[in-house]
């Protein structure tokens, strides 16, 4: 499973992209975020406020109960500010 981080999430995590292999009981975005938080203080800090995080699963916007599986591309980022 590929995880992408953008903007201040990328800065706080300390990486823009990583490949992870979460345990089998991680089945949705909420579960994935909970599991990522256990990986270190940088993750805990970056992922502290779930309401500040937007999610895309395989390059489509998704919400916390969207399913995730091996091979997916999950992106975590703050609200967008383009244009």
């Amino acid at each position: 499973m590929k995880i992408l981080y953008f903007a201040w999430l990328r800065q706080r995590v300390g990486a823009g992209e990583e490949t992870v292999d979460p345990p089998a009981d991680v089945r949705d975005v909420a579960g994935l975020i909970d599991w990522l938080r256990t990986r270190g203080p940088n993750y805990r800090e970056a992922l502290r406020d779930t309401s500040a995080i937007r999610v895309a699963v395989n390059q489509e916007f998704a919400n916390l109960n969207a399913a995730v599986a091996a091979g997916d591309e999950i992106a975590l980022f703050p609200p967008m500010t383009g244009g």
Binding site: F6, T50, Q59, A75, M80, G83
Partner: protein, 160 residues
């Protein structure tokens, strides 16, 4: 029908002319050109860096453009969005819509820039005297995008 995400600057006049090259059935072209401002909330901005999500950006801009073409009778559309480090006064984004009908061109141009603000995965980092800071999304941008909502189409949801 054209979406470009690029680091390079663009030539507004040439892009607008290319939109109707070889055809004489277009009555009007509406455009919106976004520029880097040198202040924000009273603070001086010395530079701005645009980060984006390669792959998803093009996909979302393509979806937004397709939505516009479904809602309005458009002859041609163009979205160019830059990324990378930009200076005040630099061009950031160009949206252009061509139609036989002026209202279709004007409305779809406003729609595209409003939706782009809330649906295209770009993030702005501003360099100020106080250091670099990520631009916060504005409620007014959500409100601007929401006014197009009645006609259908999904809006990105908060992950709460």
């Amino acid at each position: 029908m054209t979406v470009r995400v690029q680091r390079e600057d663009f030539d507004v006049g040439a892009e607008i002319a290319a939109l109707t090259a070889g055809r004489n059935d277009v009555g009007g072209i509406a455009t919106f050109l976004g520029l880097v401002r040198d202040t924000a909330g009273g603070e001086r901005i010395s530079a701005m860096t645009l980060e984006h999500y390669p792959g998803m950006t093009e996909k979302m801009l393509g979806q937004i453009e397709a939505e516009a073409r479904q809602r309005w009778p458009l002859d041609a559309t163009l979205i160019i969005h830059r990324y990378g480090r930009l200076q005040p006064g630099d061009r950031i984004v160009l949206v252009a819509t061509a139609s036989a009908h002026r209202k279709a061109a004007l409305d779809s141009c406003a729609f595209l820039i409003d939706w782009l603000k809330t649906k295209a995965p770009f993030w702005k980092l501003e360099e100020t005297d106080a250091g670099a800071q990520w631009v916060a999304a504005r409620d007014s941008d959500d409100a601007a995008a929401a006014r197009w909502q009645a006609g259908g189409g999904a809006k990105p949801k908060a992950a709460e």
